[in-house]
């Protein structure tokens, strides 16, 4: 989204130009604290009442050699006075803390955009590490941009001179100086950041004072008009949003809370989360490990297999077992998933997808594990698959996953991705007293019991938990008799059991909402079908296309296995079906195979989210074809 000027620029001291939307990217060395800087800017922006979306983009290396291009860490925020659905196509303001940050991020800055560079970090050595033969601040490299060169390093050292820090620690306050300047530029408060610094460095009062001094110095630098005369401050009016209490939320937090809310709605005492560290899924383990006071049990297992194994054991024993990972770890869990399918136990498996195959690009986002989720097991092994569209949506999806898992006694795979896991957005805090309960009933009556006796409607077997007198029974991976639950190698029985396992999952389609259109009405020339975190860019693109008079609608899928029961009919009403995905084409093939619709893919496999204009261009192309 381009920065739109909604009123003529005012001039003169103390005036501000109005902007409807702005995209800022903070970029620096992975040790420069860019993620913290971006997060604090996000908090202050949310408090200023803007709608926003963020996209953290950090390297896999924890501390790559300083000054290198592969050690660059960036944080992008898109905020505005109206609806914001993506982290932004083009960067309006790039804050580059060193030459490597400039060279790796400049291509995303719109022509005419602003580059703020710390000249103090543009040393010969840093320039060389970034691959610059000459200083780009001195030649014509930045001619298409508005450049603000400041010696942030020196200004920071001056600001913190009184606090007795060493040179290295003093320079680490640079990010707060830059944050202070950007907070001034966009008319944001600093109070929350000050409180955060006081808490973060509580044990090092001199660091609290120094960081606050740097923050204030950056702010004062703008305020006292030390800025070049061509640069002014901006004003972004608060967005019109539904009334209520808000907070910012990342997909990871929302999902953790959703899983907790779902388990509470099921009336279960224990949520047992087993996990093994992997990027970008680990934060879910961290959030849940912090919820022990609510009865959550977390288990950092020795490997991915033990993580899901413990989750299955927990479900068998009457807790709700959950596990999470990213693609490579999910691959390791697939045999155990088969066990959960065979023994028909409830289980939640979260996949925070990342670019693959194999190690791939662990910190980069992708949605290439749809096939893995739907099909990726030996034998006929169906389960339910749901996907979250936005960070806030993760909350609802978490609850829904628990409902399906417990009602149908099945594993449910929840697909998120690296973008959703890390991205944050303002979230209207739901009234949890409104949440519908779906209490689980363990089987307790021994009369007529066998472990695979099915509910005639859901086809789910009873949840008979160890500790219950009279229900002692044995389950396992060996095929079992439909009528008695005992192990069976009978050929006809195996076919019957395979069919009933499939029918149980297919039947979920009767228990989920009909597929609706996110934008537009049924029938027409083109429908854009997406799933997962592509929701925002598809929505913006479809809205823009419709404003341009194009006949296009949007369908966004939460339920990927089974599909909503009206999906085939809905898609058949459109002449063309366009399926944008951050993979080499997966949903598009499942839709073609399932509904025989002429769906075509729009595939982006760069490890980065779609830009709105990329989807818009594909909409134009599809309608012109």
């Amino acid at each position: 989204m381009l920065m739109a000027t909604t009123s003529p620029p005012e001039t003169g001291q103390g005036t501000r130009e109005a902007r409807e939307h702005v995209v800022i990217r903070f970029a620096g060395d992975s040790g420069d604290g860019m993620q913290l800087t971006g997060t604090q800017f996000t908090v202050e922006t949310a408090l200023a009442g803007n709608d926003l979306a963020t996209f953290p983009d950090y390297p896999a290396e924890i501390r790559a050699p300083a000054g290198t291009t592969f050690g660059v860490s960036a944080f992008q925020i898109h905020f505005g006075a109206t609806d914001v659905r993506t982290a932004g196509d083009d960067v309006d303001v790039l804050v580059a803390m060193n030459p490597a940050a400039l060279t790796t991020n400049l291509r995303d800055v719109r022509l005419g955009g602003t580059v703020v560079a710390d000249v103090g970090a543009f040393t010969e050595r840093n320039l060389q590490k970034a691959g610059y033969a000459a200083n780009p601040l001195d030649d014509h490299t930045l001619a298409p941009y508005q450049v603000i060169t400041l010696d942030i390093s020196k200004l920071t050292l001056d600001a913190v001179a009184d606090f007795g820090l060493g040179q290295k620690e003093a320079l680490r306050c640079r990010n707060m100086w830059a944050l202070g300047l950007m907070l001034w530029m966009y008319e944001r408060e600093r109070a929350t950041t000050v409180r955060w610094l006081e808490k973060k460095f509580a044990k090092r009062p001199e660091l609290v004072r120094a960081n606050i001094a740097a923050l204030n110095a950056g702010h004062a630098f703008g305020e006292t008009a030390e800025m070049p005369t061509s640069v002014v401050g901006y004003r972004v009016a608060p967005a019109e949003v539904a009334p209520g209490e808000y907070r910012t939320v990342s997909g990871t937090e929302a999902l953790a809370w959703g899983l907790l809310a779902g388990t509470r709605a099921a009336g279960l005492r224990r949520l047992m989360f087993g996990s093994y560290p992997i990027t970008p899924a680990s934060p879910l383990l961290h959030v849940l490990a912090g919820l022990k006071q609510h009865g959550v049990v977390t288990f950092q297992a020795e490997d991915e297999i033990a993580a899901i194994g413990a989750a299955i054991g927990a479900s068998y024993a009457g807790a709700l077992g959950m596990t999470s990972s990213s693609g490579p770890g999910i691959a390791l869990k697939s045999e155990a998933l088969g066990l959960a399918i065979a023994t028909e136990l409830p289980l939640i498996v979260v996949n925070s997808q990342r670019a693959g195959p194999s190690t791939g690009m662990p910190t980069k986002t992708e949605q290439s594990d749809l096939y893995q989720a739907v099909y990726g097991r030996n034998a006929d092994a169906p389960l339910a698959v749901v996907a979250a569209a936005t960070p806030g949506d993760c909350f609802e999806v978490g609850i829904e996953a628990v409902r399906l898992a417990t009602k149908y006694m099945t594993p449910v795979i929840v697909l998120t991705d690296g973008y959703l896991a890390n991205a944050a957005e303002p979230w209207r805090i739901p009234d949890v007293s409104d949440l519908a309960g779906f209490p689980v009933h363990y089987r307790t009556d021994p009369e007529g019991f066998h472990p695979f006796l099915r509910d005639p409607t859901t086809l789910a077997r009873p949840w008979a938990v160890p500790g219950t007198p009279g229900l002692e029974h044995r389950v396992g991976g060996i095929e079992r008799d439909y009528a008695t639950g005992h192990i069976s190698y009978d050929p006809e029985n195996h076919e019957r059991m395979t069919k009933v396992r499939a029918a149980k999952i297919a039947g979920i389609a009767q228990d989920i909402p009909l597929q609706d259109l996110a934008v537009g009405g049924p029938g027409g020339r083109l429908v854009v079908v997406g799933w997962g975190s592509t929701f925002g860019p598809i929505l913006q693109a479809v809205r823009t296309a419709r404003e341009q008079g194009l006949d296009v609608a949007q369908v966004h899928l939460r339920y990927l296995s089974p599909f909503p029961r009206n999906l085939g009919e809905l898609l058949a009403g459109f002449e063309r079906v366009l399926v944008p995905e951050m993979n080499n084409g997966q949903l598009v093939n499942i839709l073609r195979a399932t509904y025989l619709v002429p769906a075509v893919g729009l595939n982006k496999i760069t490890g980065k989210p779609f830009k709105v204009r990329e989807i818009l261009a594909a909409i134009h192309a599809a309608l012109e074809a």
Partner: protein, 342 residues
């Protein structure tokens, strides 16, 4: 599935047998172990509904189907992980893990390592027959070097792992050994394993009549058993042989044990090592003894209890905390929030 009525009074082994036909080969050592376990459960009068048998894959792992408690026949090597989840969900359950040398020390070696070091309160019974039975006779990680099998027609070249030494190295706090055919001894060991709070590791030497018959004859054969079996007892001198004539003495210069005969060369009982279940160094020495130079040590070799994993995990969860009563309202409003007026 038929539901048996709970037995009145002191239960018998029969009360703990399920209605399923046992499907091991005739003469398999597993029958004897099953019998010993059922007798142990009956003697201890454990509540059936609180008891869970979790197994992996292999001949031994069919075990849960034959016990009338709760049972979970899982996947190859993963029983320790699944049992850990069972205990984390409900620490009150009494959980037994049934595994074999391939299941527990090859494909599941990693899980065995971690369940032992975590000290999850489980009874882990490893049926060691030094062979893969269910897949028809390949050599296993405990097979001796030179084992001829379908996959090693010229003899295996890899060195075997010693289950007891592995368990000790992993940090197990209870290690015991017995033999399938030594019924009273095995039952005694199983009762001790059950009594121990924490991960109890029991290796049972089990004869595979089809693929590895007689592999333990060098210490189990009737004729030589007294000479080749050292039955350890806490606080008692380490004696064995006919009439307990022999014993183990420490050679401090070599930090090694040697076999001596009481009454010969001035050796008296006071020269012998006295078994101490809490002595980890002694446990290492005993677990390292092997025929033909030494007898095989049997019984409770090491027992030094420590806090269990699940009790420590639950110490971090406030008593009575339940997800069903989670204060979501407070959780969601924690931290920075702002209000947009209507």
């Amino acid at each position: 599935m038929t539901v048996a009525t709970p037995p009145a009074g002191q239960p018998t082994a029969k009360d703990f047998a399920s209605d399923q036909e046992v499907r091991w080969c005739p003469g398999c050592g597993d029958y004897a172990i099953l019998k010993a376990v059922l007798k142990t459960l009956a003697d201890l009068a454990v509540p059936r509904e609180q008891t869970v048998f979790v197994s992996g894959i292999g001949c031994s792992s069919r075990f849960p189907y034959y016990v009338s408690t709760y049972g979970f026949h899982t996947i190859h090597g993963r029983a320790p992980a699944i049992a850990t989840g069972v205990k984390l969900a409900n620490p009150e359950l009494d959980v037994w893990v049934i595994t074999g040398d391939g299941d527990g020390l090859s494909i599941g070696g990693n899980h065995m390592l971690h369940v032992l070091r975590r000290n999850v309160n489980l009874q882990i019974i490893l049926f060691n027959n030094e062979i893969y039975g269910l897949t028809k006779g390949q050599y296993s990680p405990t097979s001796r070097q030179g084992t001829r099998s379908p996959s090693t027609p010229l003899g295996s070249v890899d060195y075997p792992v010693s289950p007891g030494a592995f368990a000790l190295g992993a940090g197990a706090r209870f290690i015991a050994r017995s033999i399938d055919t030594l019924q009273p001894h095995l039952i005694g060991v199983l009762k001790r394993a059950h009594e121990h709070r924490g991960a109890s590791f029991v290796e049972v030497f089990q004869n595979c009549v089809v693929f590895n018959d007689g592999v333990f004859e060098d210490f189990t054969a009737k004729a030589i058993a007294p000479e080749m079996q050292l039955h350890v007892q806490h606080g008692k001198p380490l004696r064995f042989g006919k009439g307990d004539a022999k014993g183990l003495r420490l050679d401090p210069a070599r930090l090694a044990v040697e076999v001596v005969t009481v009454g010969e060369n001035g050796v008296t009982e006071s020269d012998l090592l006295v078994h101490d279940e809490k002595n980890r160094t002694l446990a290492a020495l005993l677990l390292g003894l092997a025929p033909p130079a030494f007898p095989t040590a049997l019984g409770v070799i090491y027992c030094d209890p420590a806090a269990t994993y699940e009790e420590q995990a639950y110490e971090q969860i406030p008593a009575g905390a339940s997800v069903a009563r989670a204060d979501l309202e407070r959780l969601l409003h924690q931290g920075q929030t702002w209000t947009v007026a209507g």
